[in-house]
Symmetry: none
Subunit: 131 residues, 2 copies
């Protein structure tokens, strides 16, 4: 019905294992469709379709070389993913990094008392027993 379906997010793009494999392949150097096809043992149409998706999403770009197309990585979408991941980085590094461990503890303490939340249409029973 609707055709407006476009590239939702970079995350949906890299959810596909074959596409991640293609990206990993391209890290080392640019590759033609046929080379990717052989190394990943997938059908040629499958490779082309994935590359199409990747290119539309800005993950790769291609140049023409005779009948071949050479695909190479583009950094922006991957940076975008990294940016999203950044909000959690502080959190997880706190679990290993001793320096940040106390930050984590502070945060946890706040969580414990942070039961009250803004914008509640109806208030839940406040009576609860923490075990």
């Amino acid at each position: 019905m609707e055709y407006i379906r476009s590239v939702e997010s970079v995350f949906e793009i890299i959810a596909e294992p074959n596409r991640r494999a293609i990206l990993s392949l391209l890290v080392s150097s640019q590759q033609s469709v046929g080379e990717i096809e052989r190394q990943l043992r997938m059908s040629q149409p499958a490779v082309s379709k994935h590359l199409r998706v990747l290119r539309d999403a800005g993950f790769v770009e291609s140049t023409v070389d005779a009948q071949r197309r050479l695909y190479r990585l583009k950094p922006e979408p991957l940076r975008e993913m990294d940016a999203w991941l950044a909000q959690f980085r502080r959190f997880w590094s706190a679990h290993v990094d001793a320096l940040e461990r106390h930050l984590d503890r502070m945060n946890n303490d706040r969580m414990e008392q942070d039961r009250m939340n803004p914008r509640m249409d109806k208030k839940p029973p406040k009576k609860r027993k923490t075990k």
Copy 2:
């Protein structure tokens, strides 16, 4: 219950926008199902199902608080994502240093548009470049 749904990869988990929203919510503090439901304006079953998926994949864990369940983040899967991204980090930082100027000059505008626009062009830029 059902057949064992193997946790394919962390990437398929975070492909879902609502799940990403839940994770972003939890980065500040732990939350109950009801709180998530209200803040994200989704149905209660939807929240529960997403939390189920997130928990099976190790993104979150829960503790029982009376009739409520409090969910909080776990770092491992996010670290796993970061590890995968790492292989590209070298690549894209290289672009800042060396290649960026060149690429910027060539298609900075195009990159921006490719990422925002739904593709309605039937053909890729037909660039002639034979060697």
